[in-house]
Subunit: 419 residues, 2 copies
């Protein structure tokens, strides 16, 4: 029996899925494990930065007023009463025409209000005492990094949901986050279906292909910030499938099946959804590739039935699963980053439905350009390796020509988009 | 005693370092561990793709010639002699006006040369036999994915040194790479120096700051594709330092120290390099921040003495260490990706030396724009969290104005640049 299916627009399909997206759990990790995770709480300054007035250079801390008369012909002499390294604090209060030898990062001694760089001084000794002289004047505040000039105690420096890059990692260390609250990575179960699938290590035999989708999806899962849990290939038997799915459902946050969703005699996912008691949100989307994508939920847990076709499977993950994952990771920008680019090649094919073309975005002279990678047939796998974007051509349009402006969704991008 | 140092241009410094960059080792990993690694050998097709002529749709395989007379008013009838799923092979050779029910991905049966999509057929039974009829004609080759149309056996599909993204992962699976030869991740040792440094978990005390550089650098090491090995903080004692460095040198591929490289009394790295028998490639670069970056080598092993200042340290890693790491990972594009962008804000400061400004590159209407994040003082750490690029302003230039075109080097980018 052939099921009747009504395709819904892509934007509506995404909206239906995202109605079930929710923020995930929080876990605490050691700072050295935090890179690449997502902040589960805002990063706040626990102190002023710098925490005290400090020297950005190696040199001498002085009272600026003492340097007022210094000139090339009339150098001013200072007695060097102490030397402090970074981490030291001067013991004495500096008096008129005294100076403290100061290293980069050290606290400005009491009484001083300027730093003279080492290169601008002349050092010498006389009667067992150290001196230095300078040939120009300085203003109060010269060469001083002032307390709090970078950040004030309590400032929110990085919002919740931010990807922890090396700079964020530095801030976490600076503000004493020896442990960091991060979003717990969701666990995403993966089943492949299809009796035509061989394991990767098996030799090819007539009529069969190797199972590439589960490896591809696993990588997409990791890229999106989650943990793939591959459960193997489902047999072509409804009862066995149902038992296998029911067994793992409690162990994962999201379940993906690839294949078994076309309108065909051998596709049994609709039966399985029904027997699971799952509500099907949609089973056809007005898009190419991936029109047979099915999404359902059981008690709020999302089940994604992605196409067995590699390109459709890839697009289905990025469109429907990724934003759910990023929402669990507290990201305020869960969607692929959306930009426009100039088309570098004709794309004459008409688009009865919204078309997602595996493409490569490049930048020349400060402008974005895009071209499709490989032929746009949904069974072509090689194009996925080169794609760094999906070119999005709206349904109901005829072909596009070189030079046209088109929409592109970026694949290799941490930043994302709020809509 | 103050050491005399002669600054060299940035490009010359990079060239001196890269003279010691070399390809790294190879290791074999399971396919499921390959995502995010770098290919150590080209990925080749071990078979044609598709491996046989196959159906991209659910429908019926026919002999196109039989459909020649089909029209809306005169449908042509076919006897359905068999049904095959993906992975099955038809048992019979199709005769005139016979058809085989075929599922997506299945091999085209002998004798057939076209596929009719299910939606275009009318199915019925008569006298216990199955039939279907169609109302239009098809040409030979219609709706067939031909053997080898995507790739031919032996084709190099992805070159050595490529980052393994989800699409490359799919190709590896498709072509039977159950194990993958990837670049072994180099081990990068990290020492922090400076008696002003507190551990992250310690409360702040006057004159001290928390050690953020080693965490930041560790994250940069991971981002660049290597393994950070943090050895802790070096004491302010030359003999102890030397012993500590000598002890770990055999265990790492590259050694980084942060801090201890300024021209100052407490900076002892020059002494250590000398006692190690290391050749110093340069100890001053005509750049801001990071002018005091020192690079040396012992028997070809590179030692990077990065500034203790967070921004200088960050820039030093990306400019000098990253391309060495990427070369070890076989990348033909080891450098940061270089583009131009339109400046969104005035940058009035003159640039006596090449200046690297932590910046944010954004895309609007298909064009790249850039603005500096935070004030450009090298001791400001917060700007690093927001930066996704370094704006590169050549030495000897005056300020730049909003609207000017400037060079940007992208930080969060896998692709890189060959020069």
């Amino acid at each position: 029996m052939i099921e009747k299916r009504t395709p819904i627009p892509v934007t509506e399909a995404i909206k239906k899925v995202m109605a079930y997206a929710k923020e995930g759990e929080i876990e605490t990790v050691q700072l050295e494990e935090a890179y690449g995770r997502y902040l589960a709480e805002p990063l706040c300054a626990d102190h002023d930065v710098p925490p005290f007035d400090r020297s950005p250079y190696d040199g001498f801390a002085i009272r600026a007023v003492d340097s007022a008369s210094a000139s090339l012909t009339h150098p001013v002499e200072f007695e060097v009463i102490e030397a402090i390294g970074a981490g030291d604090v001067a013991k004495q209060v500096v008096q008129p025409f005294q100076a403290v030898r100061i290293m980069t990062g050290a606290q400005i001694p009491s009484g001083c209000d300027a730093v003279v760089m080492l290169e601008l001084t002349n050092e010498y000794e006389r009667n067992g005492k150290k001196y230095m002289s300078i040939k120009r004047s300085f203003k109060p505040g010269d060469n001083i990094s002032f307390q709090g000039e970078d950040a004030r105690k309590g400032d929110v420096l990085v919002p919740k949901g931010t990807f922890i890059n090396p700079g964020v990692q530095a801030l976490l260390a600076t503000f004493g986050y020896a442990e960091v609250k991060v979003a717990k990575k969701p666990r995403i179960g993966i089943f492949a279906t299809g009796s035509e699938l061989l394991e990767v290590s098996e030799p090819l035999v007539p009529g069969k292909i190797r199972n590439s989708n589960s490896y591809m999806i696993s990588a997409q899962v990791i890229r999106s910030g989650a943990i793939p849990v591959y459960f193997g290939t489902l047999a072509d038997d409804v009862d066995e499938c149902l038992a296998a799915i029911e067994q793992v459902l409690d162990d994962v946050d999201i379940l993906i099946t690839t294949g078994g969703v076309s309108v065909g005699d051998y596709d049994y996912l609709p039966t399985i959804y029904e027997r699971l008691g799952a509500e099907v949100l949609f089973n056809k989307v007005a898009m190419r590739p991936g029109s047979v994508t099915t999404v359902a939920h059981v008690n709020g847990k999302l089940l994604f039935g992605l196409s067995g076709n590699p390109s459709a499977c890839y697009v289905g993950y990025e469109l429907f699963v990724r934003p759910v994952v990023r929402t669990r990771l507290f990201s305020p920008k869960p969607y692929l980053r959306k930009k426009t680019a100039t088309l570098l090649a004709d794309f004459p094919k008409p688009n009865p439905f919204t078309r997602f073309v595996r493409s490569y975005v490049t930048v020349q002279d400060g402008r974005l350009y895009v071209f499709p990678v490989g032929m746009d047939k949904s069974n072509i796998v090689t194009s996925l390796a080169k794609a760094n974007a999906l070119m999005v051509l709206p349904g109901g349009t005829r072909g596009f020509a070189k030079g046209d402006t088109v929409n592109v969704w970026l694949l290799e991008d941490e930043e994302g988009s709020a809509v």
